[in-house]
Amino acid sequence: MNGENVVKIEFPSRSSNEAYARAAAAAFAAQLDPTMDELGDIRTAVSEAVTNCIVHAYPDEIGPIYLRLRILSGNVLEISVKDHGRGIEDIAKAREPLFTTGGEERSGMGFTIMESFTDTLRVRSRPGKGTTVTMQRKIRSRGGRS
């Protein structure tokens, strides 16, 4: 596939939208002809990033979440999830396995899972302003693409 394709979706931080965001990403990624495992990884990475916005960025309110999906050259899917929520004070610490500010209901494994299911993960955040998580994943396995 040549040239860039991109979609942008905005939705409120309601937990019922988690399933929608995963499905939208999987539907967009389908044009790269991914395997079942690759599709599962994409759905999982999106779910983790979107859930973090819902749980951590907007703990006491409903705010906007921006999901951008892009296809880059070389069969790479880029997933960007942005919020205007609370932000992260210490990004390195937040990315450590088991680190959580979420108590019993969270395991602190979201960033670890996103990292292991994508090739690159970038986090930009400003306390009080919001957070953007950008991930790239090369889709490789199935042959026959033009």
Partner: protein
């Protein structure tokens, strides 16, 4: 009900279907704990064969159910884990924390 539960001879088989994300986690955990408290089983097997999707919210649920079983003097095992949930469990290193049982029949998932 979001789960199914079958009890026999000290063993509780809980089936979880559909998608286990943050949206459904609280309810699934509460319903499973309720069944554990009713039957006080020696062993609880979580049958994940009907699970189409799970993320880290599911890991927190599994760890909470494991803790509850330990409080009851029993243990939790996972059985019939589909590929996507298995990859998540592996990425989080959970397969070392909760024993994974042998494949069993589908009766709990009905």
């Amino acid at each position: 009900m979001d789960i199914s539960a079958v009890y026999s001879a000290g063993r509780l088989l809980i089936g979880v279907k559909g998608e286990l994300d943050q949206h459904r986690a609280r309810q699934i955990k509460a319903q499973a704990e309720e069944q554990m408290d009713v039957f006080l089983p020696k062993e609880c097997a979580l049958d994940l064969s009907g699970l189409r999707f799970m993320d880290s919210s599911g890991i927190a649920v599994i760890l909470a159910l494991r803790k509850r079983m330990e409080e009851l003097g029993g243990r939790l095992i996972l059985v019939n884990i589909p590929q996507q949930p298995m990859r998540v469990l592996e990425a989080a290193g959970i397969e070392r924390l909760v024993p994974i049982g042998v494949r069993i029949g589908e009766e709990a998932a009905q």
